[in-house]
């Protein structure tokens, strides 16, 4: 299969892997490719060969193929640093994209910058491209975006700009506590009791500091009362999310909230917000990064 009409390669290059989409001149996806060569295992010189390896069949002599990258590839330890743009700012910071010098003349590589915030100190790298994609579909959106994940982002959007944002390590804490701590013996691996989860969320919201003591009680209840793993898991997840919702209240209270990310995880956020009287909508996140890269390309390709 050949892709003679490939107009752009959009690369989401994270710490552990990369995903590339091949787009035609209209922004339609012709093909998708992936590799496990994340930036975490590469030194600067190794990025170009990895990229060429992934898209060699799209390159032809005498032609130049544009490649837009976003994510950790632009971090200080990445291919080339694309310094953060400071919020408030346009979502993908397209004007500040960095062009990377390549030894292969058939490539024209750009890296999109992340977004920073001075106070409270915060950073994002990758999410801003999803946000750009979301705003390319809903340019009039005025409200709050929540991107649940390892490091969940709450983002205030107005007039197509990222006004402010805040990051929560809830996902990473859940992962560490459920797989590495003493609680791993209690929470099991999969199912979660949703009623328990919702109860734990409101428990944590009414007395956030108590989360510090309630965590070990999950283990104790397994030992003393043999509570089911799905109950233990619901409690752990609910306590941590309740703590996050308690701290992020200024973001969601009385706001129009859009959730972007893994549907199951977004569903938990939606349930928890609903119990607090905050309606929200879950958006399909699957192609938002590509949409954001495409939107960035639209502006960059006209730059001299």
């Amino acid at each position: 299969m050949t892709f003679q009409n490939a107009a752009l390669v959009a690369v989401d290059w994270g710490t552990t892997n990369l995903r590339a989409a091949v787009l035609d001149e209209a922004g339609s996806v012709l093909d998708k490719r992936a590799s496990d060569k994340g930036m975490g295992q590469l030194v600067p010189d190794e990025f170009e060969p990895v990229l060429v390896d992934l898209i060699w069949d799209l390159l032809s002599d005498g032609a130049v193929l544009p490649v837009i990258c976003s994510g950790m590839v632009g971090a200080r330890q990445g291919w080339q640093e694309a310094p953060y743009v400071s919020a408030p700012c346009k979502a993908a910071g397209m004007e500040q994209a960095m062009q990377v010098a390549t030894s292969d003349p058939r490539l024209s590589v750009w890296i999109l910058p992340g977004v920073s915030q001075a106070k409270p100190a915060d950073v994002m790298r990758g999410e801003e491209t999803q946000i750009a994609g979301f705003l390319s579909k809903f340019p009039k959106f005025d409200g709050v975006l929540c991107l649940p994940g390892t490091h969940t982002k709450w983002v205030r959007i107005s007039a197509e700009e990222i006004v402010s944002f805040q990051t929560f390590m809830t996902g990473e804490m859940f992962s560490l506590l459920s797989t590495q701590s003493v609680l791993r013996h209690s929470v099991g691996a999969d199912a979660m009791d949703i009623a328990t989860f919702n109860e734990a969320v409101s428990d944590a919201m009414s007395r956030p500091q108590a989360v510090a003591s309630k965590l070990f009680s999950i283990r104790a209840e397994t030992l003393l009362a043999d509570i089911p793993e799905e109950v233990a898991r619901g409690r752990l997840s609910g306590y941590l999310l309740g703590l996050e919702l308690s701290a992020s209240r200024p973001y969601w209270l009385g706001m129009d909230v859009a959730l972007i990310g893994d549907p199951a995880l977004c569903g938990l956020y939606k349930d928890a917000l609903e119990a607090q009287g905050c309606p929200s909508r879950v958006h399909d996140a699957s192609d938002l990064t590509v949409a954001g890269q495409w939107a960035a390309y639209q502006s960059i390709k006209d730059t001299p």
Copy 2:
């Protein structure tokens, strides 16, 4: 060197290692031994050989050497389960010690039980023996014991009994976040800025829920403002301890607090409590477990 006057072997048998003290008839320590054969790596049949291996030179035909064990050796997955005694109760639950059948007739092995609490659900296994040791030295103590560690215990003591207690996973969370999470790139390995630590404690105590968002800001400040590792470490430690002190307030507020454990860690707790107007004393914890096992032995040896 021989120990013909050995009267008791006191074994603190935890998950990852065991420490044995050889005592004479007056309770003085004649010798100390250790092994890395913790209960976590042993099946029930393997405990006796490990013990014999450690004290073979103390055993003589025709004589029976008493051995008192405490710690995880008495858990369900240990040598033999010594079921929890339910608080309120005497510290080491000496009356409920379990005698273990051994194939070597020169041994008389007892396992001390842990202590449980039904509501809020909580358990301890090992700390109750330190508490017994503390109470054998300060039988009139009426107040609160705090045993900082991986799982810090706050324990209300009155009339030589454990009245109630609460466990916090602060130590384990600090360890996971500082070595396994994204914060490991920020906090370094050793030194901690104490002024930052104290500030973070009071920050967390005045707005406990904000800890959920302040954690990632440590990482962001490293990236944006290049804050020193000891400042980042002070902040992480302070936020987590502030969250614990906020939740454990009913334990320490207006109480006589005695800290037992690693002196450096106890020092951090002491500083943080002092800033909240709560004076406390740090006690040498090094021989409390042995003292508690000795106290238990005093009662058991008279049992028919």
